[in-house]
């Protein structure tokens, strides 16, 4: 098991995910037992050092959101281990007791994609932001009020008292996402999962929200797992990027290394498919064919083999390539890396 874990240079990462798996049964008929499974997340391993942010990038259905939900324990892994540093200890959050869960909830928070649906319409902004404090019994009411006011100032909703007792529907999408950030940071977490937090916002507002997240992360030493389909956004937000395809991480590297020197055929295709806001730039052609499918009981070979322009018989007949370090800090899961580059 340990030989498969990556990032040996990081002594004690903040988050360490080992061989994470999540299978969803495909229901066929009411009473029949499920015999087929969607491999939403399949043998995923990575780690995040404290203070660093990792981008999880992929197309819809690649398992990035499921991974995020498991890391916040909204969903349970079928198999694998997830460690979160809590002081000197590493909590295993894949298998956690009630007491551990309490500690876990103080450390990990989440920012959701939809600023309209992620807040209870019947609770005020104060109730929404103070909720983690309230349910975890942190502080008395005046202290909570003070803390919420402080956070509202931090996320730029000033003057704070004018926002505290409004309802979500009285705020714009950008303002709500600021509230969501305030809620995520109210209990001083060390790790925040952000699931496409800007994809539903207007272009002009996105940057200010992303800047806010970056500034607060620096100030409070928060690490993000930043889930997005947009490589350009991931580039802006993250220190390292992991590219997922059908439940597997196919490539993981420092952001500029990954974008400047993509190794996996899928990463290359994904990268050359992203439109560039400069009409004089001519993108290289996207070399893959077909569309994304669902990973229902996939054969044990490389998941990308049907769409890969370079696939050989070796790829079709041998077990899926493991995620291996090809150069310092650059991990790729492909049999043919040398040939492709």
């Amino acid at each position: 098991m340990t030989d498969r874990t990556i990032d040996t240079k990081v002594e004690q990462p903040l988050v360490k995910v080992e061989n994470l798996k999540r299978l969803f049964p495909v229901q066929r008929g009411l009473f029949r037992k499920a015999t087929n499974f969607i491999h939403a997340v399949d043998d995923v391993s990575f780690s995040i050092p404290a203070g660093e942010s990792l981008g999880l990038v992929g197309e819809s259905g690649c398992g990035k959101t499921t991974t995020g939900r498991i890391l916040t324990r909204l969903d349970q892994p079928t198999d694998g281990a997830i460690y979160l540093r809590d002081g000197q200890e590493m909590l295993n959050i894949a298998d956690i007791d009630k007491d551990g869960m309490k500690r876990f909830r103080r450390r990990v928070q989440m920012i959701f994609q939809d600023p309209y649906e992620s807040m209870n319409p019947r609770r005020t902004i104060f109730d929404t932001i103070a909720e983690p404090l309230q349910v975890q019994g942190i502080g008395r009411l005046p202290e909570r009020e003070e803390r919420v006011a402080e956070l509202l100032e931090l996320v730029g909703l000033t003057p704070a008292p004018t926002f505290m007792f409004r309802y979500p529907h009285e705020l714009s999408g950008g303002q709500r996402q600021r509230v969501a950030i305030a809620r995520a940071l109210v209990i001083d977490p060390t790790f925040v999962v952000a699931d496409e937090p800007t994809s539903m916002l207007d272009v002009s507002i996105r940057i200010s929200i992303m800047d806010l997240m970056l500034n607060l992360a620096n100030e409070f030493g928060v690490s993000y797992l930043y889930i997005t389909h947009d490589l350009a956004v991931a580039r802006y937000m993250c220190d390292r990027i992991a590219v997922m395809y059908l439940g597997k991480i196919v490539e993981l590297a420092e952001t500029e290394e990954l974008l400047g020197n993509p190794q996996h055929p899928y990463t290359r295709a994904l990268l050359s498919a992203v439109p560039v806001p400069d009409p004089s730039y001519v993108r290289p052609p996207v070399e893959i064919k077909g569309g994304i499918t669902k990973a229902i009981d996939p054969p044990p070979v490389c998941r990308f083999v049907d769409r890969c322009p370079w696939a050989t018989d070796y790829c079709r007949n041998n077990e899926a390539p493991p995620l291996e370090e090809k150069s310092s800090g650059h991990f790729v899961a492909c049999h043919l890396v040398e040939k492709v580059s």
Binding site: N120, E131, F165
Partner: protein
């Protein structure tokens, strides 16, 4: 508008939190009221309910002050207004108000003769100044009965609908949240209740157990609460329990009870309140039906009034004895209908699909 809001929230912060919440509740109530008032139908319904409410309140006061209980008590009062009529030969009645034929007079007293006078006690008596809606076949004032029964109707409606909504909201939210066996159990139970016809079941039960008003209210409430209303509120709770804000609350560390009571139920409540209106309608009409069939062990209600008219043989008498049937019948229709109208108007506020704007 916005500056207004700013000022008021700033002031709010200086106050204690419960006062703020009260103010917020008041603000949202005012908003809801503003859109409710736009809907004439709802306002009409509310007007009718208020009218009946006034009647219910006025009844005990009237009995204490202007109405003599011996005459006007809705259950044990008695009055048969007497008219003096002259006996005329058969077939020569020219004015039925003051004259009576010999034949008819001798049915009452066989020794009477033409030219003598006869005191006829009317029972039921038609409306007069003393009895605005006449008296019933037992000589009791119909208006007094009508007003007295209003209280019963309200009590029944409120208790039944409160019980319905309390049960249905809890059952619906709990089934939606937990799913699995709990959900299956409650939903099959609801199906079972829906499967058994409501009214015949109540008829059998009331025949067996001598139902009073409160028993009936509880029975309707329980059957309604575990029945159809639970299914409707469950589907609402289900649509809420999959929203991201539930996940957000979970990540905040909220336990099951926190999620159900702070997040799901507050969002189901508006719909619950709506179905409360509809279940008042149901309760009132069910009571009327059961009373009409003589299956309830209660002294007086609109249903009993119609039942009395019926057992005394006035049910099919057409319009001649209209005051025995019409006031009670109309009241059942109006009050039940007005709760329905209020429900419809609320539906337009609560249900965004129906909202015009």
């Amino acid at each position: 508008m916005t500056t207004d809001l700013h000022q008021s929230t700033e002031e709010m912060l200086a106050e204690s939190l419960w006062k703020v919440r009260l103010k917020l509740a008041w603000r949202s109530f005012r908003k809801g009221w503003a859109s409710f008032v736009e809907n004439r139908i709802g306002l009409l319904g509310l007007g009718i309910i208020a009218l009946y409410g006034l009647m219910a309140l006025a009844h005990p006061i009237l009995l204490d002050t202007v109405w003599d209980p011996r005459v006007y008590d809705p259950i044990i009062g008695y009055d048969a207004p007497a008219t003096i009529k002259t006996i005329v030969p058969d077939g020569q009645v020219t004015d039925p108000e003051t004259q009576v034929s010999l034949l008819e007079a001798r049915l009452i007293n066989p020794i009477l003769k033409v030219g003598e006078t006869l005191e006829i006690r009317e029972q039921p008596a038609s409306p007069s100044r003393k009895h605005l809606l006449g008296t019933d076949p037992l000589g009791r004032d119909v208006l007094s009965q009508l007003m007295f029964s209003t209280r019963a109707a309200f009590l029944l409606g409120v208790v039944a609908s409160l019980v319905t909504v309390f049960i249905a909201t809890t059952v619906g939210s709990v089934s939606a949240f937990f799913g699995g066996l709990i959900d299956t159990f409650f939903m099959r139970l609801a199906d079972l209740i829906l499967l058994v016809p409501f009214l015949p079941l109540l008829i059998v039960l009331s025949a067996l157990f001598q139902f009073g008003l409160l028993h009936l209210a509880l029975m309707i409430g329980i059957l309604g609460g575990f029945g159809g209303t639970a299914i409707i509120l469950k589907s609402q709770a289900l649509s809420i329990s999959v929203k991201p804000f539930i996940d957000a609350a979970r990540i905040a560390g909220g336990g099951k009870m926190h999620l159900i009571f702070r997040h799901i139920i507050p969002n189901v409540l508006p719909l619950s309140f709506l179905y409360m209106m509809f279940s008042v309608t149901d309760a009132i009409s069910i009571e009327a039906t059961l009373s009409f069939l003589g299956l309830l062990n209660i002294d007086m209600s609109w249903g009993i009034m119609i039942y009395q008219a019926s057992v005394q043989g006035y049910l099919l008498s057409g319009t001649k004895y209209w005051w025995l049937l019409m006031p009670a019948g109309l009241s059942v229709t109006l009050l039940a209908g007005s709760f329905f109208l209020v429900g419809r108007a609320m539906d337009e506020i609560i249900n965004p699909r129906l909202r015009k704007r």
